[in-house]
């Protein structure tokens, strides 16, 4: 009966899964661009997030065969075509143009005579890959050119700006991940703010001077000696991005999404977090319009610490609830 109700490949809550790889593999340049584009498009309401999810969910067995960013990128392509924002032929042409542009080095090399000193007198070999590698030395995956093409087409039509995509990339790298940490450090230092945060997180955070670029509302769940909170999104990867940045790879993994709702204690143990049986584990499936920030307990031994120093004890994993900060003794 329950099998019949499964909505599709994405509806994995309660399935058995593999052990969780608790390392975060980070993001390549290509993935950051694809993500920035997706967020810029959904923020501009050209195509809504629910439409993009709907497209990804229609991929059937391919859903989990594709890496996360490719799946989301192709969902964007599909939905833009379906909405007739551009045609197949226009996409193909834009993609070819993006590929050609990519194959040209982005800076003009000086005359080789003038810089032989850089190569111990050897002539410089102009490798095609000089400007085309990510940190791991890998070139871009094929879908990246679709992303460049979609970006060009939507910019041409005045639906988004390239600056908005760049701004999202920059915010995800440098702005969002620091916010949740600052909020928690303030809550640890200021009991009145802590009460405000737990009562009405969205307004408490706005009151701090942070403008959250998100349609969703934030709820803060404080860890206590009685209750251990943790967050998952079984249907996709809902996450308080404007407070924590991008979710780590394990948060988006099939295993985490499947297992947390029915065996949270086993998952926590894989992160090294053992919750005693007399403490309630409360799982939050972040499945709709709310986003969750977990407020860890302030570590013992930090009574006279500044907010800045407290911030150094806080990691993203604490704010999702899979780990707790250690006491300082």
């Amino acid at each position: 009966m329950e099998q019949d109700l499964k909505m599709g490949p994405h509806d994995v809550g309660g399935e058995d899964g593999d052990p969780i790889d608790t390392n975060d593999s980070g993001m390549t340049h290509w993935e950051k661009f694809s993500n920035g584009l997706r967020i810029a498009v959904s923020a501009s309401k050209v195509v809504t997030l629910d439409e993009l999810r709907c497209s990804a969910e229609s991929f059937g067995d391919d859903y989990f065969k594709m890496p996360y960013f490719e799946r989301n990128g192709l969902a964007l392509v599909h939905r833009c075509l379906e909405r007739q924002l551009f045609t197949d032929d226009e996409l193909k042409a834009a993609r070819e143009s993006a590929e050609i542009r990519f194959n040209v080095p982005v800076i003009d090399l000086p005359n080789p005579e003038s810089f032989t000193h850089l190569h111990d007198g050897e002539p410089h070999h102009d490798h095609e890959n000089d400007f085309q590698e990510d940190e791991a030395g890998e070139g871009p995956p094929g879908y990246y050119f679709d992303m460049l093409a979609v970006a060009d087409l939507l910019v041409d039509r005045g639906l988004i700006t390239m600056a908005s995509v760049q701004q999202k990339i920059e915010q995800f790298d440098n702005v969002f991940p620091a916010r949740g940490i600052a909020v928690v450090a303030k809550a640890w230092s200021d009991p009145k703010f802590r009460d405000f945060l737990v009562r009405d997180a969205k307004n408490a955070i706005i009151d701090m001077g942070l403008q959250l670029e998100s349609f969703a509302d934030i709820i803060c769940m404080p860890q206590s000696n009685d209750t251990h909170h943790m967050v998952v999104c079984t249907l996709c990867s809902c996450y308080p991005r404007s407070l924590l940045g991008m979710p780590p790879s394990w948060y988006k993994s099939r295993s985490y999404r499947s297992r947390v709702v029915h065996e949270p204690r086993a998952v926590l143990a894989e992160f090294g977090t053992i919750v005693p049986d007399n403490v309630e584990v409360r799982v939050h499936d972040s499945n709709a319009d709310m986003r969750y920030l977990i407020l860890p307990q302030r570590p013992k031994g930090t009574d006279d610490w500044s907010e800045a120093d407290l911030g150094k004890l806080i990691s993203r994993d604490h704010l999702v609830g899979v780990r707790v900060p250690e006491d300082v003794i």
Binding site: E2, D4, L5, K6, M7, D11, G13, G14, T48, D50, E51, R53, C54, E57, R83, D200, K202, D217, I219, T234, L235, V261, H262, E263, P264, R265, D277, N278, V279, E280, V281, R282, V283, H284, D285, S286, N287, A288, D289, M290
Partner: protein, 102 residues
């Protein structure tokens, strides 16, 4: 407390009220996971009114606005073979058209 700016409609369910998630199939995009359908829990809080994501997903020009609730379930009521503590709970958000009072 309402999290959205839409004051209508008035929510049908009150905090702590017992509810059952409707046991039925869905077509297209939907935010009610299969695992929770048919399960019995309580309203944890009313979250405000939001546009129906099932309609947003198909680019409906005027999606209906629906009350959204956070619902709390005992894990042992959701999973017959749950092996954690009896007091462990699971919370998720359910739109009103997926809830029945019991």
């Amino acid at each position: 407390m309402s999290y959205s700016h839409e004051h209508e409609p008035i929510p049908k369910h009150a905090e702590a009220e017992r509810i059952q998630v409707t046991m039925r199939d869905s077509r297209g995009h939907c935010r009610t996971p299969a695992y929770i359908r048919g399960k019995i829990g309580v309203i944890e809080r009313y979250c405000g009114n939001f546009e129906n994501p099932e309609q947003i997903a198909v680019a409906h020009p005027a999606p209906v606005v629906i009350p959204l609730y956070r619902c709390r379930f005992l894990q042992k009521d959701v999973w017959p073979d749950y092996c954690g503590a009896d007091s462990d709970t699971l919370e998720l958000e359910v739109y009103e058209h997926w809830l029945e009072a019991i």
